[in-house]
C-alpha cells in the first residue's frame, strides 16, 4: 500500500497538535437562491485521507468546486481555512499554486493546447510560488516520464492536446498523472474511479498512494467502496442533501456498500 503506512505511524495525539490542512466550518453555499451545501463541518489533518460518499445530487461536486474556486457559487455562511489561510479569498490559480488540486469528475477537453506545454507551464507556476527556479527541459522530461509510467499511460498522450480524444479512463488517469507531477498538498478527487476498469482503478489508486506523505492530504469523493479498498481512508463521511450526516472509519464505507443510504436518517448535523 505504498507509503500509506508512514501516515499511519503518526499517532492520533500527534495529529491533534498539528495544524489542519483543511478546516471547513459551517459552510453554507448555493447557486442563485438555492442552497446546496447546508452547513458542512470537516477537518482534515496532515497525512489524512478522507472519503466523502453520498447520493447523486447531494452536493459532493459542489463542495469540490468550492474548494477549487469555481465561479458561480455563493457562500452564504461559514469558512474554509487551508493551512491557516482563508481559502475562499484566493483565486483558483492561487489555490493551485498553494497546493490545492482538483481531479475533475469530468475532465475538460482543451483542443489546441498541447499536454506537455500545458503541464510544464502549470508546474512552473507552482514552482515559482514555492520559490523554485523553472524546471529545465531534461528534468521535466524525466519527471514526466516517471509519472506517466506510474499511471501506466501511453507517452503519446503527452503529444496530444489536453484530454482531446482521450478515452474516459485515460482522462481520469490523466488527472492523477497531472496531480503526480504537481504534487499537491491537498488533493480533491471527484469520482476519479467512475468509468475506470478494475485494472485502471488499481493503477490510479496506486498513483494516489505513492503520493501519500505525512504532510499531504486527500479528499476522495466516490460512490464505491471498491476504491477505498485501495486508497484506505482515515475517515469516511456521508453527505446527504448538503450536510454531513454521518462520519466514521473505513468500515462505514463497507456498511454503505451493503445497506445503501436509506438507513441513515438525517438528524442533527454532526461535526466531522
Amino acid at each position: 500500500m505504498g507509503r500509506a503506512g508512514q501516515a499511519a505511524a503518526i499517532t492520533m495525539e500527534d495529529r491533534l497538535k498539528m495544524e489542519p490542512i483543511l478546516d471547513i466550518r459551517n459552510l453554507e453555499a448555493g447557486v442563485d437562491n438555492r442552497a446546496i451545501l447546508k452547513g458542512i463541518n470537516l477537518t482534515i489533518l496532515p497525512g489524512e485521507v478522507h472519503a466523502i460518499m453520498g447520493p447523486n445530487g447531494s452536493g459532493k461536486s459542489t463542495l469540490a468546486s468550492l474548494l477549487a474556486g469555481r465561479e458561480g457559487y455563493q457562500v452564504t455562511q461559514g469558512s474554509v481555512t487551508y493551512l491557516g489561510q482563508d481559502l475562499l479569498a484566493l483565486s483558483p490559480e492561487e489555490r493551485a499554486r498553494a497546493g490545492v488540486f482538483l481531479a475533475f469528475q469530468y475532465p475538460v477537453e482543451i483542443p489546441g493546447v498541447n499536454s506537455t506545454y500545458f503541464l510544464k507551464a502549470a508546474l512552473n507556476e507552482v514552482r515559482k510560488h514555492r520559490g523554485l527556479p523553472e524546471v529545465d527541459a531534461i528534468e521535466f522530461l524525466s519527471l514526466v516520464k516517471d509519472r506517466i509510467r506510474l499511471l501506466e499511460l501511453n507517452e503519446d498522450l503527452l503529444k496530444r492536446a489536453v484530454n482531446v480524444g482521450f478515452s474516459g479512463g485515460e482522462k481520469k488517469r490523466n488527472e492523477i498523472f497531472q496531480m503526480a507531477v504537481l504534487e499537491p498538498t491537498l488533493a480533491v478527487l471527484d469520482e476519479t474511479d467512475s468509468g475506470l476498469d478494475i485494472d485502471a482503478l488499481r493503477v490510479v489508486a496506486n498513483g494516489v498512494n505513492q503520493l501519500r506523505r505525512p504532510d499531504r492530504s486527500a479528499l476522495v469523493i466516490t460512490h464505491y467502496q471498491r476504491l477505498l479498498n485501495h486508497i484506505v481512508p482515515d475517515r469516511v463521511h456521508v453527505l446527504m442533501d448538503g450536510r454531513i450526516v454521518r462520519s466514521g472509519g473505513k468500515e462505514l464505507a463497507l456498511e454503505l456498500e451493503d445497506r445503501g443510504y436509506d438507513w441513515i436518517v438525517p438528524t442533527e448535523p454532526v461535526a466531522a
Binding site: 490559480e93 493551485a96 475538460v108 493546447v113 500545458f118 502549470a122 507556476e125 497531472q178
Partner: protein, 457 residues
C-alpha cells in the same frame, strides 16, 4: 450612408488621377494594349462606382470611409528610403528565399532578392513583364472573368502599376516559398496602391507564394490588390495572403483562382491589420478530382472590420473543397463572413465543407456570418456551419486550477483557436513564422487583454 445621387461628382476623385498614371505608364514603355485595359477599367468603374450597403454582397461593409478619403495613386515610386531594418522588422522572419518588395505599388528592386531564380521559373514584377513578355501577360490578363469584386477589379485594371508575376513551368517544383512584400509607405492619407499579381503554376508543378501587406507609416492608405492564380493539372500550390496593414489602412484584396483537375490548392488568408479589410475569394474548380482548401484567420480589435467573402464554384465532379475560417474579435470590432458554395449539375461526388467559427472577446464585438450552399447535383456531400461564442469558462477554469494565471489561460485558449487555422499551413517555416507573429500580436494587443479580462470580473 449611400450617396447614389450624383455619380460623377462622387467618383471624380477616382477618375481624376488617371491621365497622369496612364501617361507615365505609357512613357515608361508599357505596351499599348495595356492602355486599353486601363481605359476599359476606368469606364467600368465610373459606371458603377463603389458598392453601397444596398448591394447584397456588401450589406455589412460600409465603404463610405474609402470614398471620403483622397485618392492618390502614385504614377512613379516615391523617393523614400525603406531601410533593411524596416524590412527585417516587418517581413516574416526566417524567410530566406526569393523576395520581391513593392512600395506603394511599385517594385523596389534594391530591396528585393530575386537572383536565385530556378530554371523554368519566371519571377518578375508586373511592369517589367509588360515590357519583356507582353504577349504572354496579355493572354493572362485577358482571360479573366468578373467576380463580386467588380468595382475594385475595374479600379485595379485602371490603376495597377506593379505586382508579382510568377510562371512556373510544367513539372517544376520550386523549393522555397516565394515572398512578395507589399509595403504602404503611409506618409500621407489616401496613398493608393493597386498591386496586380499574376501567378501561373503549370501542370504538375509545385510552388508556395506568400503575399504580405504591411504599412510603414500610420496614414489612412488604400490598398486594392488583385491576384489571379492559375493552378494547372496536378499542380500543388500553397498561397498565403498575410494582411497586416496599419490600423488606419483600408485593404481590398481579391484572389481569383482557377484550378485544374487533380490539382491541390491551399489558400490561406490571415487578416490581422487594417481599419477595414475585405478579402474576395473566388475559386473555380475547373477539373475533376482536385482538392482545394480555403483557410483563414481574422483578428480584429477596436473599431476595425474584417470581411471575407468567397464563392467556391464546383463545376466538375469528384472535387473536394474545404473552407475553414476563424475570427477573433475584441473591442467594438466586427467580422463579416459570407461563404457561398455552388455545386453545378455536373459536379457529382462533390465533397464540400465550410465552417466559420468566431470567438468574441468582448460584448461589443459582433459578427455577421452567412454560410450558403447552392446545390444542383444530387450525389454530393456538403456541409456548412457557423458558430459565434466566447471562451469556454469551463476550459478557463480547468487551466486555472492547475495554477495558470487567468490571463495566460485565456491567451492559451485564444492561441489554440488561432492555431486551428495556422496549423493548416503546410510549409513548416512559414507556419512557424505566422504562429509567432499571431502569438506576438495577441500578447501585445492590450485591447485583447483588456477585453479578455472584462467579462470575467
Amino acid at each position: 450612408m449611400d450617396a447614389n445621387d450624383s455619380p460623377p461628382a462622387r467618383l471624380g476623385r477616382f477618375v481624376e488621377p488617371f491621365a497622369s498614371v496612364a501617361e507615365v505608364a505609357a512613357s515608361d514603355g508599357e505596351p499599348h494594349w495595356m492602355l486599353g485595359i486601363r481605359k476599359a477599367g476606368l469606364a467600368r468603374f465610373a459606371e458603377q462606382g463603389l458598392p453601397t450597403l444596398r448591394h447584397e454582397d456588401w450589406r455589412f461593409t460600409n465603404l463610405a470611409p474609402i470614398e471620403a478619403l483622397p485618392f492618390r495613386p502614385l504614377p512613379r515610386p516615391q523617393a523614400r528610403a525603406v531601410s533593411v531594418a524596416d524590412l527585417d522588422r516587418l517581413s516574416l522572419a526566417g524567410m530566406s528565399g526569393l523576395r520581391l518588395v513593392f512600395v506603394d505599388g511599385h517594385f523596389a528592386p534594391e530591396l528585393s532578392r530575386i537572383e536565385a531564380v530556378e530554371d523554368k521559373v519566371q519571377v518578375r514584377g508586373l511592369s517589367q513583364t509588360l515590357r519583356a513578355d507582353g504577349a504572354w501577360l496579355e493572354q493572362q490578363l485577358a482571360c479573366w472573368h468578373e467576380g463580386q469584386d467588380r468595382a475594385f477589379r475595374a479600379l485595379n485594371d485602371a490603376y495597377c502599376t506593379d505586382g508579382i508575376v510568377l510562371h512556373v513551368s510544367a513539372g517544376v517544383a520550386v523549393a522555397e516559398p516565394i515572398h512578395a512584400l507589399f509595403l504602404s509607405s503611409g506618409i500621407e492619407p489616401g496613398l493608393a496602391s493597386h498591386p496586380r499579381n499574376v501567378l501561373v503554376a503549370e501542370a504538375n508543378s509545385r510552388v508556395m507564394v506568400i503575399e504580405q501587406y504591411a504599412s510603414l507609416g500610420g496614414a489612412a492608405t488604400f490598398t486594392n490588390t488583385l491576384t489571379q492564380l492559375v493552378v494547372g493539372e496536378g499542380a500543388q500550390v500553397e498561397h498565403v495572403r498575410f494582411q497586416d496593414e496599419g490600423p488606419e489602412a483600408f485593404h481590398m484584396g481579391a484572389l481569383r483562382a482557377v484550378v485544374a483537375g487533380s490539382a491541390q490548392l491551399a489558400a490561406h488568408s490571415f487578416a490581422l491589420g487594417a481599419r477595414l479589410s475585405r478579402q474576395n475569394i473566388g475559386l473555380t474548380l475547373a477539373g475533376p478530382g482536385l482538392e482545394a482548401i480555403l483557410n483563414g484567420l481574422y483578428v480584429t480589435t477596436e473599431k476595425r472590420l474584417a470581411d471575407h467573402h468567397m464563392v467556391v464554384d464546383h463545376a466538375q465532379p469528384h472535387c473536394a473543397s474545404h473552407e475553414y475560417f476563424n475570427g477573433i474579435l475584441s473591442g467594438q470590432s466586427r467580422g463579416v463572413f459570407h461563404g457561398r458554395i455552388l455545386v453545378r449539375p455536373d459536379a457529382q461526388k462533390t465533397d464540400a465543407k465550410q465552417t466559420n467559427k468566431n470567438l468574441l472577446l468582448s460584448n461589443s464585438a459582433s459578427v455577421n456570418t452567412k454560410p450558403q450552399l447552392e446545390i444542383y447535383a444530387d450525389d454530393v456531400k456538403c456541409s456548412h456551419g457557423a458558430t459565434i461564442g466566447q471562451l469556454n469558462p469551463e476550459s478557463v477554469f480547468y487551466l486555472r486550477t492547475r495554477g495558470l494565471p487567468v490571463e495566460t489561460a485565456r491567451r492559451m485558449l485564444i492561441h489554440a483557436f488561432a492555431g486551428e487555422i495556422i496549423d493548416r499551413v503546410q510549409c513548416g517555416p512559414v507556419r512557424q513564422a505566422l504562429d509567432r507573429l499571431v502569438w506576438d500580436r495577441l500578447e501585445r494587443d492590450a485591447q485583447v487583454r483588456l477585453d479578455a479580462a472584462a467579462p470575467h470580473s
